[in-house]
Subunit: 195 residues, 2 copies
């Protein structure tokens, strides 16, 4: 089911990190590495991490590196109260389904200007959906102080190539490309120095 080479070897340090945070419950690392990924996977047993972003829990439900996806990728992300994505854009389609909690989507649709400018704000809530027009600069923010915000995220053209802005007045041309992105980076094969 999985294209050959779709699962890259992970560095030992990454594997240890998985175990450290109690991931891979019931699913041995050797199973993943040697026998491939099962067709039907229990989402609660999939590896999750904050990938260095405070307040985030990210799970790749179906991804280009781990599962050989070519055209779509799906993430499950949980934002603790107050946490948020960077201000960013990407040239792929993106759809959100809000599973739990509430928050705000900040969206600057004026891509004909030199910089994003002041974004519009839209409240998002449990059982809502929204999509981000391609290349529009946006930020998802858990503005609810009392509850986690959990979203299912679908993107096209994986792996994602993210341009990050320091603020809404930064010129589009100054936004910094982050690629591979945190969760891909962690999965890409890095050769081990045997010497």
């Amino acid at each position: 089911m999985m294209p050959e080479g779709g699962l890259r070897r992970r560095q030992h340090s990454s594997l240890r990190a998985w175990d450290d945070v109690g991931m891979l419950k019931g699913l041995s690392v050797q199973t993943v590495l040697q026998a491939g990924i099962p067709l039907v996977r229990n989402i609660s047993e999939l590896p999750q991490s904050d990938y260095g972003r405070g307040g985030l829990s990210h799970i790749t439900i179906a991804g280009s590196v781990l599962h050989g996806m070519k055209e779509v990728e799906i993430w499950l992300q949980t934002f603790s109260p107050g946490s948020r994505t960077p201000i960013h854009r990407h040239s792929c389609e993106e759809v959100f389904v809000v599973l739990k909690g509430s928050g705000t989507i900040f969206l600057a649709s004026n891509s004909h200007e030199k910089q994003p400018g002041k974004p519009q704000e839209y409240p998002i809530f449990s059982n809502s959906t929204f999509h981000i027009p391609m290349n529009d600069v946006h930020q998802v923010w858990n503005t609810n102080e009392n509850e986690d915000l959990q979203v299912l995220v679908v993107i096209s053209r994986p792996p994602v190539k993210v341009f990050i802005y320091e603020d809404w007045s930064m010129p589009h041309t100054a936004a910094k490309l982050k690629f591979p992105y945190y969760w891909d980076e962690d999965c890409f094969y890095s050769p081990k120095d045997e010497l």
Copy 2:
């Protein structure tokens, strides 16, 4: 946010059908038709129908016809006990996230044969995920007699072009293309005869 022409006019008969089954709660037909689709949408207010398929409830969360999606499309589907998809294939990626219930995915991966042949069976369950390799013949079946099966479905390359098989021994070349598919068909613009 929505490309011009992304929302086609619906036939009056379709609109009446929406109302008949109690859909469009709180969202007037005129709002949808004249003012476009809001960025953030309440999924429980989106139109749903069985599209003539007994036991099915289908909601297009983000679609090519209604929302101008070009690369991904997302559906929320609920199968009553015993109901199922046709045996079918499509040349797009497809990922399922099981939100509620349980069932069975039947999958014939031998696309080098003349017909699908006996499929493999995989149990699916709440909070599981699986994806269908492109062009593999498959069928999702709510084999749980006591509970609805609810899945979130993501496809690439919308709108979906489905080839339907009468049974697992039907040659691939005899499978019948259904396009537009039920839910797209209902949304595509049909000119009204004014005479």
